[in-house]
C-alpha cells in the first residue's frame, strides 16, 4: 500500500506541475495575442475610421474566442493531468525504463489486475517501482524552459504595445476611441467664448479660373461668405488678445474638416492672423486661439460659408416640328440656343436608334462663351435610318466646369419618323422581281411539259392561279406607290386578266379530260385543245416575261439615273468645297469634303448595286479571276480623298475635275442607254417624248438665234453710241473712273471676316463686273459699261440685303459684320450713282438707232411674237399628251408657259427699242428653254421625278427666316441696353437682355 501511495503521490506531483506549466503557457500566448491585437486593431481603426465599427466587432469576437480557447485549454490540461494514466504515459515517454512498468502499476492499482494474479508479485512490483520513482524529480520531468516560446511571444507583443504607445500615441488613442465609439471633446477641448476672439474679417475670394470672374475682397465682413466650389478664400483678421497659436476649425465641433493653421504676425493693434482655404462645400468655420498661458478659446458662433453652384447649361432646340415625318435622305434644319452661367464648351446632337445612342458634335463658333447658337443641317442620309424607324433626338450642352466636372444640360426631346417613298418604291420593285421569277418559273415549267402529263398540267394550272393572285397583290400595291408609273399598273392588270382567263380555261379542260378518262371515253379532241392552250400560254408567258424584265430594267435604270442626279449635286458641291479648301486650307472645309466624299461613295455604291440588275444569262466564257481582281483599283474619289488628306488641295481639285468628267460620262451613257431602251422596248411613249423634246429643242435653238440677232443689233448700237460719245468721253470717263474706284475702295474696306459666305460669293461677282466695267470704260463701250454697272449694283444690293438680315436677326455672322454692312451699303449707293451717271451719259437708243436698225428691231419683235405663240401651242400640246409618263406633260406645259412670259419680256424690251435689255432677256429665255429640255429629259426617266428637288430642299424650321421683331421693339431694346445698370447687377442685366432679344 505504501508503495502504491508513493507512486500516486509522485504521479500527482508531476501532474500538478504539468498543469501549472500548461496554464502558464496558455496565459502567456493569450496575453501576447491580445496585446498585439490591442495595438493593431486601434491603429487600423485610426487609419480607417470608417471601418472602426467592423474592426471593433472583429476585435471583440477575436478576444472572446481567444479567451474561451484559453479557458478550454486550461480545463483540458486539468482533465488530462489529473489522470494518473496520462501522467504515467508522460513520465514513461521521458523515462523509457519505467514506461510499461509505471503504466502497469497504475492500471493494477486501479484494480484492473486479474483475480488470479499473484498479490505478492504485485506488491513486489509496486515496491520496486516506488523505489525507482522516488529517485525522479518532477521538475526535471516537466522543465520550465518549455515556457520560453510563449514568454518570447508575450515579450514581442509587449514591445509592440510599448512602441505604438510611444510612437503613435495619438493614433492609438483615436483608434481606441473610435473602437470604443466614443467622441473627442468638441473643438479639441477648447473653451467656447460667447464673444468674438478676433476682430473684423477681411476675405479675399479668388473664383476658379474657368468662371472668368475677378478676385473679390469682402472688407470688414462678419466672416460669412458665399463662393463657388474651387474658390480660394484668403482670410485676414486680428486677434483680440495675445495669441501664440491660432487655427480655423470647421463644423459644429471642429471636426468637420482638418483645421487650417493661421499665420500670426505681430502688428500694432494686435496680431494679424492669416490663412487660406479652398472652398469645396457649404460649412461653418470658427477661429480657435491659444493664449500664451496655454488656454484655448473658440468662438461660440461659427461663420457660414455658402456654396454658389455652377448651374447646368440650358439649351433650347428648334426643329421644324415636334414630330417630323422625313425620308431617310432628307436634311433637317436644326437650330439651338444654349446658355450657361460661365461658358459652353460642347454641343452635341444625341439620337437613339435601335437602342443605341449616337452623338454628333454640333458646330460651336466660339467655345467658352456664355451663350452659343447655331443652325445645323442634319443630313439623315449620313446615318442610314431604316424606313419606318422612330428616332428620338435632343441636344446636350456641356459647360466649362473643370472643378466638379462639366455640367450637362439637355434640350427637349423631339422625334423623327422615318418614311421613305423611295424605299417603298424599291420594295415594290423587289416584289416585281419576285413576280417576274414566278412568271419565268411558270414558263420554264410549261416549255418542256409533255401534253399527256395531266398531273403536271394540274400543278402548272395551280401555279397559274397563284400567279394571278400575286399579280393582283402587286398591282394593288402599285396603286399606293406615288413613284410608280401608272402604265405599269395597266400592264399588270392586263397580265392578270389574261392569265386568269387561261387558268379558268385550262382548269375546265383538265376536269373534262379527267372525267372522260375516268369514263373511258376518248379525250383526244380535248387534249388537242389543251396542247393549243398550252402553246398560247407559253407565247403569253414569253411576252410577259420580257415585258416584266423590261419594266424592271427600266426602273433600275431610272433609279440609277436619279442617283446620278444626286451624284451631280454632290459633285458640284464637292468641287466648290475643294476650291474653298484650296483658298483657305480650313480643316472644317476638309471635314465637309470628307462628308461629301462619303456621300458620293455611298451613292456610287448604291448605283452599282442597282446596276447589277437581275441575272440575264450564264457566262460561258472562262473568266480570269486575277484580271477581275486587278480592276478593283483605287477609285477616283479615293484618290481625291488621299490628296486632300495629304493637304495637296491643288492636285485634289484637279483630280476631282477628272472624276467629275468620268461621272458625267457615266451619267450620259446611262441617259443614252435609257433612251435606247425606251426606243427599243417602249416605242410609243418614246416617240411622243422625242417629238416633244425635238420641238422644245427647236424652240430653244430659235430663241437662241433670235438672241444672236439682237446681239448683232446691240453691237451696232453700242458702236454708234460709242462714236457719238467719243467727243465727250474724256470728261465722262474721268468722272466714271473716279466713281468706279470709289466703289472698289468701299468694297475693299468691308472686312472680309464680317461677310457671310453668301455675301462673299455675291461680292466675287460684283468685283468681276466692276473689272468688266473698267475694261468697257477703257474701250469706250458705254452701253456695255451700263449693263455691267447695273449688274454690279444688283449684286451689291443682294449682299447688303444678306448682311442686313444677318445683323437684324440678332445673331450676326460675327462682330465685324455690321461694319461690312455699312461699307457695302455705301458702296451700293455709289454704284447706284455710277449707274445713273452712265445712264445719263448713254444716249437713248432712239437717238442712236437708224431707221434700218429700227426696222430690224420691229422684225425681231414679230419673230419673238411668233416664237412665243409656238411656245404656247407646244404647251397646249404637252398638256394633252396621252402617252407621256405621268404628270410630265402638265409639268412641261407649265414650264413652257413660264418661258412664254420671258419671251413677252423680250418683246417688251424690243418694242421699247432697248437692244441691251432685249438681248439679256432673249438669252435668258433661250437658257430657260434649254434647261427645260434637260429637265424634261430628267423627268422622262420615270415617275420618280422630283426626287432630286425633294432631296435638295432641307426641312426648314418654319418662320425662322421670316420672323423679325418689330422695329420699334428692337430700337427700344437697343436704347435700353445703352443705359448703365448698377454695379454688381450688370451681368444679370446683360443676361436679361440676351433673353429678351431671344
Amino acid at each position: 500500500v505504501e508503495s502504491i501511495r508513493a507512486i500516486d503521490t509522485f504521479l500527482a506531483r508531476v501532474g500538478r506541475r504539468l498543469w501549472r506549466r500548461q496554464i502558464a503557457a496558455v496565459s502567456l500566448w493569450t496575453a501576447g495575442v491580445l496585446a498585439a491585437g490591442a495595438v493593431l486593431i486601434p491603429m487600423l481603426a485610426a487609419r480607417f475610421p470608417g471601418l472602426a465599427g467592423q474592426l471593433g466587432g472583429i476585435a471583440l469576437l477575436g478576444a472572446t474566442t481567444i479567451v474561451i480557447g484559453a479557458m478550454w485549454a486550461v480545463l483540458a490540461a486539468r482533465r488530462r493531468w489529473s489522470r494518473p494514466s496520462s501522467v504515467a504515459r508522460f513520465v514513461g515517454a521521458r523515462e523509457q525504463s519505467l514506461a510499461s512498468d509505471l503504466l502497469t502499476s497504475v492500471e493494477l492499482a486501479a484494480g484492473q489486475a486479474h483475480p488470479e494474479f499473484s498479490r505478492d508479485l504485485l506488491v513486489a512490483h509496486h515496491g520496486v517501482l516506488a523505489a525507482r520513482v522516488s529517485s525522479l524529480d518532477p521538475r526535471q520531468l516537466a522543465p520550465a524552459n518549455a515556457l520560453l516560446r510563449p514568454l518570447a511571444a508575450a515579450g514581442v507583443a509587449a514591445a509592440l504595445v510599448a512602441t505604438a504607445a510611444l510612437a503613435a500615441p495619438e493614433a492609438l488613442r483615436r483608434g481606441l476611441q473610435a473602437l470604443a465609439g466614443g467622441t473627442e471633446a468638441a473643438f479639441d477641448g477648447a473653451a467656447l467664448r460667447g464673444g468674438p476672439v478676433v476682430g473684423d474679417v477681411e476675405i479675399e475670394l479668388e473664383p476658379p479660373a474657368y468662371t472668368g470672374r475677378p478676385k473679390v475682397i469682402l472688407p470688414a465682413a462678419a466672416g460669412d461668405f458665399r463662393a463657388m466650389p474651387g474658390t480660394v478664400a484668403t482670410i485676414r483678421t486680428r486677434a483680440l488678445d495675445r495669441v501664440v497659436r491660432a487655427r480655423l476649425v470647421f463644423g459644429d465641433d471642429g471636426k468637420a474638416a482638418d483645421p487650417i493653421p493661421l499665420s500670426i504676425e505681430d502688428k500694432p493693434g494686435g496680431a494679424e492672423l492669416r490663412g487660406q482655404m479652398l472652398v469645396s462645400e457649404a460649412i461653418t468655420y470658427r477661429f480657435l486661439v491659444e493664449s500664451p498661458g496655454g488656454a484655448r478659446q473658440v468662438e461660440a458662433d461659427g461663420h457660414a460659408i455658402e456654396i454658389e453652384a455652377d448651374r447646368a447649361p440650358q439649351v433650347e432646340l428648334h426643329t421644324p416640328a415636334d414630330e417630323l415625318d422625313v425620308s431617310n435622305r432628307k436634311r433637317v434644319e436644326l437650330a439651338y440656343i444654349a446658355t450657361d452661367d460661365f461658358g459652353v464648351t460642347k454641343v452635341e446632337l444625341v439620337w437613339t436608334l435601335g437602342g443605341e445612342t449616337h452623338r454628333l458634335p454640333l458646330p460651336l463658333t466660339e467655345p467658352g462663351r456664355r451663350s452659343a447658337q447655331s443652325k445645323y443641317l442634319w443630313d439623315l442620309s449620313e446615318i442610314e435610318l431604316p424606313g419606318g424607324s422612330q428616332v428620338p433626338y435632343h441636344v446636350e450642352v456641356s459647360d466649362n466646369d473643370d472643378i466638379g466636372g462639366p455640367n450637362v444640360g439637355r434640350s427637349r426631346t423631339y422625334t423623327l419618323r422615318v418614311f421613305s417613298p423611295r424605299e417603298r418604291h424599291d420594295q415594290l420593285i423587289a416584289r416585281q422581281r419576285e413576280l417576274f421569277e414566278k412568271v419565268i418559273a411558270l414558263l420554264g415549267g410549261r416549255l418542256p411539259a409533255a401534253a399527256e402529263d395531266l398531273e403536271l398540267h394540274r400543278q402548272l394550272n395551280r401555279a397559274t392561279a397563284q400567279l394571278v393572285v400575286d399579280i393582283g397583290t402587286v398591282a394593288s400595291a402599285l396603286g399606293e406607290d406615288k413613284l410608280a408609273d401608272p402604265e405599269l399598273g395597266k400592264v399588270l392588270a392586263a397580265l392578270r386578266e389574261r392569265h386568269d382567263r387561261f387558268s379558268r380555261r385550262e382548269r375546265k379542260l383538265l376536269d373534262r379530260i379527267a372525267a372522260r378518262r375516268r369514263g373511258g371515253t376518248s379525250s383526244e379532241r380535248l387534249e388537242r385543245e389543251l396542247v393549243a392552250l398550252d402553246r398560247e400560254q407559253i407565247t403569253a408567258l414569253e411576252d410577259d416575261t420580257l415585258a416584266l424584265a423590261d419594266w424592271i430594267d427600266r426602273q433600275d435604270m431610272e433609279g440609277m439615273l436619279h442617283i446620278a442626279d444626286e451624284i451631280k449635286n454632290h459633285k458640284e458641291r464637292l468641287a466648290k468645297l475643294l476650291a474653298e479648301h484650296r483658298r483657305t486650307g480650313s480643316p472644317e472645309v476638309a471635314a465637309e469634303i470628307e462628308r461629301e466624299l462619303k456621300a458620293l461613295e455611298r451613292l456610287l455604291a448604291e448605283q452599282a448595286e442597282r446596276g447589277r440588275g437581275m441575272r440575264e444569262d450564264v457566262l460561258d466564257q472562262f473568266v480570269n479571276a486575277d484580271a477581275l481582281a486587278a480592276q478593283r483599283e483605287v477609285s477616283c474619289l479615293a484618290e481625291v480623298r488621299a490628296l486632300t488628306q495629304r493637304g495637296d488641295a491643288v492636285a485634289a481639285a484637279e483630280k476631282m475635275e477628272k472624276c467629275a468628267a468620268e461621272l458625267d460620262q457615266s451619267a450620259e451613257a446611262l441617259e443614252q442607254a435609257l433612251a435606247r431602251m425606251r426606243g427599243e422596248r417602249f416605242s410609243e411613249e418614246q416617240k411622243e417624248l422625242e417629238e416633244l423634246l425635238g420641238e422644245m429643242a427647236g424652240l430653244a435653238h430659235d430663241e437662241d438665234e433670235l438672241a444672236g440677232a439682237i446681239d448683232q443689233i446691240y453691237r451696232d448700237y453700242a458702236e454708234k453710241a460709242s462714236q457719238e460719245l467719243r467727243a465727250q468721253l474724256d470728261e465722262s470717263r474721268r468722272n466714271l473712273d473716279k466713281m468706279l474706284e470709289a466703289v472698289r475702295k468701299r468694297i475693299a474696306e468691308a472686312p472680309e471676316a464680317g461677310l457671310t459666305p453668301f455675301a462673299t460669293e455675291e461680292l466675287e461677282g460684283v468685283k468681276a463686273r466692276l473689272d468688266d466695267l473698267g475694261e468697257m470704260l477703257a474701250d469706250g463701250d458705254l452701253a456695255e459699261a451700263l449693263a455691267m454697272s447695273r449688274q454690279a449694283e444688283a449684286g451689291l444690293e443682294g449682299a447688303v440685303a444678306e448682311l442686313a438680315a444677318d445683323v437684324d436677326d440678332g445673331e450676326p455672322w460675327n462682330d465685324k459684320t455690321p461694319r461690312a454692312l455699312a461699307e457695302l451699303e455705301a458702296a451700293g449707293k455709289l454704284a447706284a450713282r455710277m449707274t445713273d451717271a452712265l445712264r445719263k451719259a448713254t444716249p437713248s437708243p432712239d437717238a442712236v438707232l437708224g431707221p434700218a436698225e429700227r426696222r430690224k428691231l420691229e422684225r425681231l419683235t414679230r419673230r419673238q411674237e411668233r416664237l412665243r405663240q409656238r411656245a404656247s401651242a407646244l404647251a397646249k400640246r404637252a398638256g394633252g399628251a396621252s402617252k407621256l409618263p405621268r404628270m410630265m406633260g402638265e409639268a412641261v406645259a407649265g414650264k413652257l408657259e413660264g418661258a412664254g412670259k420671258k419671251m413677252s419680256g423680250v418683246e417688251g424690251r424690243l418694242r421699247a427699242r432697248d437692244p441691251a435689255g432685249a438681248r439679256h432677256a432673249a438669252h435668258e429665255a433661250a437658257d430657260t428653254l434649254r434647261e427645260m429640255v434637260r429637265e424634261t429629259q430628267r423627268q422622262a426617266r420615270g415617275a420618280m421625278a422630283g426626287r432630286v428637288g425633294h432631296r435638295d430642299e432641307p426641312v426648314r424650321i418654319p418662320g425662322a427666316e421670316e420672323y423679325r421683331a418689330p422695329r420699334e421693339l428692337r430700337e427700344d431694346i437697343l436704347e435700353a441696353m445703352k443705359k448703365q445698370g448698377p454695379a454688381g447687377y450688370r451681368e444679370m442685366i446683360e443676361r436679361y437682355y440676351e433673353e429678351l432679344i431671344k
Partner: protein
C-alpha cells in the same frame, strides 16, 4: 526611237567637236559605231566595241551609258542602273535619263522573277512565281517549235538564248516599255519585242484570255526579222511577216484571213479607208484604236501572203536581206517581185478585190472585244454579252428568254428557247454557242459537239466553243478529238481548269506524255 536619237546625237557631237588626237578620235568613232550596233540589234559587235571603249575611256559618260544600255538589253537591269549611277539625266543628250527611268521601272516590274530554260536551250523564260508557272512549259514548247519553223522559213536561227518575260499585267508592259497604259489599252497591245527580248502579258491578266501562243510566236518573228535585217525592216512589213508567220509553229503557211479580219478588210475596202503603210509607222500600237490596229494587221498580212504566194519564202528572205544591205522596203519587195512598187501595190489591191472578201455582221465587234482588260459594267452587261448582236429580232427575243431561263437553272426550257432562236436565225453564232453549252448541261453531248464544231471553224480562237467541244468529246470517250479541241482552247485560255483538267484526262487516255504537265496544271488551277 531612243536609240536613233542617241546615234544622231553622237553623230552631231562628232561633227561639232574639234578633232582631238588620234586615240581620242578613234574612241569617238567607236562610240558612234557601238551605238549604231546596239540600235541595229547587232549585240555581239556592240559588245566588242564597248569593251574596247571601256579600256580606252572607262570614265567617259558615253562609255558608261553604252555599257548601261548593253546591260539593260542583256536583262541586267540593276547592273544597268549601277553603271549609269552618278551621271546626270541629261547626259548623253538625255539618253541617260531615259535609260535610268526605263531600267528602274523594268527592274521593279521584274523583281523576284524566276526563270526556266526551254528544253533545247534556245529560250530563257522569266516569269513571276505563282499562277503563271502553268504556262511556262507551254511557252517553251511553243517557242521551240517556232524556232525550227521560222528558222526554216526566214533562214535565221538566233545563236544566243532569247530572253522572254511573262508579265502579270498590262501596267507592267507599260513599265518595261515606252508605251503608256492608255496606248496599251486603246490598241489592245499585249506583247512586245523590243530591247532584244520578248515581253508578253500573261493571259491571266485579261478577262477572257487571248490567243497568247500565236502572239508569243508573232513577237519571236519580230525578233528574228530584227536580228536578220539589223532592224532595217519598216513596221508595216515587220508586222505583215510576223502575222503571216505567227501560226507557222502549228501549221503550214496559211494566207487565209480569219472571219473577223476578212470583215474588217472588206469594210475598209468598200469604204476606201485602208490604213496606209506610212500610218503604220512607228508602231501599230500607236494607231488610234484597236480597230485601226486590227485593220492594219489584216492589210499587211495579205500583202505578205501575196509576196509569199508569188515569191515564196526565198523571196521573203531576199527582201529582208536586201533591206539589211540598205535598200528600202518598197524597193526590196518590188525587186523580189520583179516589178515596181506602185505596180505591186495595185496588183495587191486587185488581188484583194478578187479575193471575194465578205463582211459578216457581228464579226467586227467580236474582233474589237477580243482582248478585255476590263469587264463591261452596267445592268446585266456581264452576263448576256452578245445577245444584242443577234441579228433577227425574233431570234433575239428567244435567245434572251433562253438566257433568263438558263440563268435560273431551267436548262431544258432554255434549250427549247434557243432552238426557237436558232430556227429564226440559223446562222447566228452566239445562239449556236449558247445552245451547244446548254446541250452540254443537259448531257446531250452529240448535239453539243455538232453545234460547236462549225463555231471553231468560224473562229479558231473561240475558246468557249472549243471547251464545249472538248467536254462533249470527253464525255463520249472520244479522247483524241477532245484533246484537239482542248488544245485550241489552250491557245486562248490556259488558266481555265476545265481546259487543263480535260486535257490531262484526254492526254492520259491517249498515252500522251504531256498528261503529266497538264495534271500538274490542273491541280494548281482547280
Amino acid at each position: 526611237v531612243r536609240r536613233l536619237a542617241l546615234t544622231v546625237a553622237i553623230a552631231v557631237v562628232a561633227s561639232v567637236v574639234p578633232a582631238p588626237g588620234p586615240a581620242v578620235a578613234g574612241s569617238r568613232g567607236d562610240t558612234i559605231r557601238a551605238a549604231r550596233m546596239l540600235a541595229a540589234w547587232r549585240y555581239d559587235e556592240a559588245r566588242e566595241l564597248i569593251e574596247k571603249l571601256q579600256t580606252e575611256r572607262p570614265k567617259a559618260a558615253e562609255t558608261r551609258y553604252l555599257r548601261g544600255e548593253l546591260a539593260f538589253i542583256s536583262g541586267e537591269y540593276e547592273r544597268a542602273l549601277e553603271l549609269i549611277d552618278g551621271l546626270e539625266d541629261d547626259a548623253v543628250f538625255g539618253n541617260v535619263g531615259s535609260l535610268r527611268k526605263l531600267a528602274a521601272s523594268t527592274a521593279r516590274a521584274t523583281r523576284g522573277f524566276e526563270s526556266a530554260v526551254s528544253a533545247r536551250g534556245h529560250f530563257v523564260i522569266h516569269y513571276p512565281p505563282g499562277a503563271d508557272e502553268v504556262i511556262v512549259g507551254l511557252t517553251a514548247e511553243v517557242l521551240e517549235k517556232a524556232y525550227d519553223a521560222i528558222g526554216d522559213d526566214l533562214a535565221y536561227r538566233p545563236s544566243e538564248k532569247v530572253r522572254v518575260e511573262i508579265l502579270s499585267a498590262p501596267s507592267d508592259l507599260a513599265m518595261v516599255s515606252t508605251l503608256t497604259e492608255k496606248e496599251i489599252e486603246t490598241t489592245g497591245t499585249i506583247a512586245l519585242c523590243k530591247y532584244g527580248k520578248l515581253m508578253i502579258v500573261s493571259p491571266r491578266a485579261t478577262v477572257y484570255g487571248y490567243p497568247w501562243m500565236d502572239t508569243l510566236v508573232h513577237e519571236y518573228v519580230h525578233y528574228v526579222v530584227s536580228r536578220k535585217s539589223h532592224d532595217k525592216v519598216p513596221v508595216w512589213l515587220h508586222e505583215g511577216i510576223a502575222k503571216f508567220e505567227q501560226s507557222r509553229w502549228r501549221k503550214g503557211p496559211d494566207a487565209a484571213l480569219s472571219a473577223t479580219d476578212e470583215s474588217l478588210l472588206a469594210s475598209a475596202l468598200k469604204s476606201g479607208r485602208l490604213i496606209s503603210f506610212d500610218e503604220m509607222h512607228p508602231s501599230m500600237a500607236k494607231l488610234p484604236s484597236a480597230r485601226a490596229a486590227a485593220l492594219a494587221f489584216a492589210e499587211v498580212f495579205t500583202l505578205v501572203g501575196f509576196i509569199h504566194k508569188n515569191a515564196g519564202y526565198a523571196g521573203l528572205q531576199k527582201a529582208i536581206d536586201l533591206q539589211r544591205s540598205g535598200k528600202s522596203a518598197r524597193r526590196a519587195v518590188a525587186e523580189v517581185m520583179q516589178t515596181r512598187w506602185s505596180k505591186l501595190e495595185k496588183a495587191w489591191r486587185r488581188h484583194l478585190a478578187r479575193s471575194g472578201l465578205k463582211s459578216r455582221a457581228g464579226a467586227e465587234s467580236r474582233a474589237r472585244a477580243r482582248i478585255h482588260f476590263r469587264r463591261s459594267s452596267g445592268a446585266g452587261a456581264a452576263d448576256n454579252v452578245g445577245v444584242d448582236a443577234v441579228g433577227s429580232a425574233r431570234a433575239r427575243k428567244h435567245a434572251r428568254l433562253a438566257g433568263l431561263l438558263r440563268a435560273r437553272g431551267m436548262s431544258a426550257a432554255a434549250a427549247i428557247e434557243y432552238e426557237k432562236a436558232l430556227a429564226a436565225d440559223g446562222e447566228d453564232a452566239f445562239v449556236a454557242a449558247k445552245l451547244s453549252r446548254t446541250y452540254l448541261e443537259l448531257e446531250r453531248y452529240a448535239e453539243a459537239a455538232k453545234l460547236a464544231t462549225p463555231l471553231i471553224e468560224l473562229d479558231e480562237n473561240d475558246a468557249s466553243a472549243a471547251t464545249t467541244l472538248g467536254l462533249a468529246h470527253l464525255a463520249t470517250g472520244e479522247h483524241e478529238a477532245a484533246a484537239r479541241a482542248f488544245e485550241l482552247a489552250l491557245r486562248v485560255s490556259p488558266f481555265d481548269p476545265a481546259v487543263r483538267c480535260g486535257l490531262a484526262e484526254a492526254y492520259g487516255s491517249t498515252g500522251d506524255g504531256r498528261s503529266k504537265r497538264e495534271r500538274e496544271a490542273c491541280g494548281k488551277l482547280r
